[in-house]
Symmetry: C2
Subunit: 244 residues, 2 copies
Amino acid sequence: MYSHSEQDYIPQLSIDCVIFGYQETQLKVLVPKLDFRGDFWALPAGFILQDEDIDLAARRILEVRTGIKDIYLDQFRVFGGTGRSNRPFLERMMSLNEGKLGSKMLNRKEFEWVTRRFVSIGYYALVDINKVVPQKNDMDESIDWYPIKDLPPMIMDHHEIVEKALETLRLNLDQKLIAFNLLPETFTMRELQELYESIFDKPFARNNFQKKILNLNVLERLEKKFTGAANKAPYLYRFLNAKG
Amino acid sequence: MYSHSEQDYIPQLSIDCVIFGYQETQLKVLVPKLDFRGDFWALPAGFILQDEDIDLAARRILEVRTGIKDIYLDQFRVFGGTGRSNRPFLERMMSLNEGKLGSKMLNRKEFEWVTRRFVSIGYYALVDINKVVPQKNDMDESIDWYPIKDLPPMIMDHHEIVEKALETLRLNLDQKLIAFNLLPETFTMRELQELYESIFDKPFARNNFQKKILNLNVLERLEKKFTGAANKAPYLYRFLNAKG
DNA sequence: ACAAAAGTGTTTGCCGTACACCCATGT
DNA sequence: ACATGGGTGTACGGCAAACACTTTTGT
C-alpha cells in the first residue's frame, strides 16, 4: 500500500477536512467509511509533503476525494491534544481484522509512523454537491454524504472537529459571502433561504431574508424559473463574483 | 546549549507568540533580540513536547517570557508556506558570527533539526504590561516592548504573523470582551477608549463609546479617581468576569 | 373560486452616529 | 471667570424584525 516516511511527509502533522455539501434541504458532510471490520468512519485526511504549502496540501486532499478543483477552502483551527493518536483505533481495528488485512497490512515502520501522536490542522470546504463524485481511496469501503444532524460515529475527536467547522462556517457565512459555494450556478431565493436555515438550524422570515440578501448587491436576477407548481414562478439568481 | 530531538519535541512544528501589551497610549508587542551579531529579532517561539497539549505548550512559552500565569491566549492561524525554514537566517547568522558563537554553537544534529522546514502555529496573548517582567532566554541579547507601528525588522514571516494577529484581535475584541486583559485591574473610561483607539488606529466619539461599553454590562463602576487635574474626576471601572 | 408560494410595501423598535449641554476642578 | 476634561441627554438615520397586502399559477 502507501508508504510514509519522513523523507516525504512532515511527521506527526496531518490535515483533517470537513467537506460541506447541501442537498434536499439538509447540510451534509462527506465522510468515508474505512474498509475494515468494525465500522470505522473518519474524516478525509492526509499528510503534508515536505515541499508543499499546507493550503495546497489541503487542496490536494480535497481534489482526490471530490474530483473537482476550485473548491472554497478555509483553515479554521488546529487540534493538538495529547491524546490525539491513531494507536488505540488502529490496535482495535487490527485485532478485529486479524489475518484479513492482506495487502493493507502496515509494516512495522509505517505502523510506528501513523500511530504517533498527531497534531491536525482543520480545514473546511464548501462544494456544490452535484459536481462532486466522491472518490474512495484504497483504505475506504465507501464514502458518502451524511446529514450533519445524523453523522455516523467517527474516530478520535472528529465529531469535535465537525462541530468547530460548523461554528466557523456560521461566523463566516455573511462575512465572507460563501454560501453560494454550496449551491448550483443558479438558484431561487427560497433555495438560498433553506440553505441558511439548514446551516443555522433556525427559520428566517421570508421577506426580510430576501431584503437582506438583495441588499448585499452580490446577486444577479435572471429569468423566472418554471416549476409547474400551482403558484407564481420564482426568479433565478446567480452569484456575482467580483463584477459590478 | 539546549538540545532538541525527536524524542522530546514534535519535529518541524513550532509555536510563534504575538504578545500584546498596552502602555502610554500605544499598542506594543514583546520582541526578543537575538544575542548574535547582525541584529536579528524574532517573535517568542518554542516547540511542542511530545506529551504536551499545544495550548499548554503556548502557555509554557508565554510564562517563561513574561513571568506570569493566567494569560489570555488564543490560537489564530497556522503558517505553513514551503519557504518557512530557519536555514537562510541561521546561515547568515553563523557567517556573521564565525568563531564567536562559543557555547551557542549548534552541533550538526541540532542544526539539521532546526533548519528543516517548519510549520508554525500562531498564538496571540494579551497581558497587563505592568505585571510582566520580560525574561531573556539564553539566546537573547535583550527583550523589549515595541510599538506595533514601529516594530524592528524581524526574521522570516514574523511581520505577517503580527499582522494576522492584529487582524484577529480586532475581530475578537468586542466579540470576546478581551480588551480588559490589556489594562490594569481598574481603569478609567478614557483609558479604555484610548486602548481601543490604539488597536483600531482610529478615533471614537467619547460619549458614544461610553454608552456602547456600559451597555455591555460587563463593567463595575467604582469610586472616582483623584487626578489633581483641573477638571472633573473620572470614575474608575473594573471588569466583571462572570458575576451578575 | 381557491390554495399555495412568490413578490413587495409599511410600521416599529433598536442601535450607532452626531450634536448639544451641564458638571466638577484647579488656575 | 475660565479653561479643561468628564458625564449625560436628545435628535437623526439606517437596519432588522414583525405585520400586512398583492400577484401569479394550477386545480
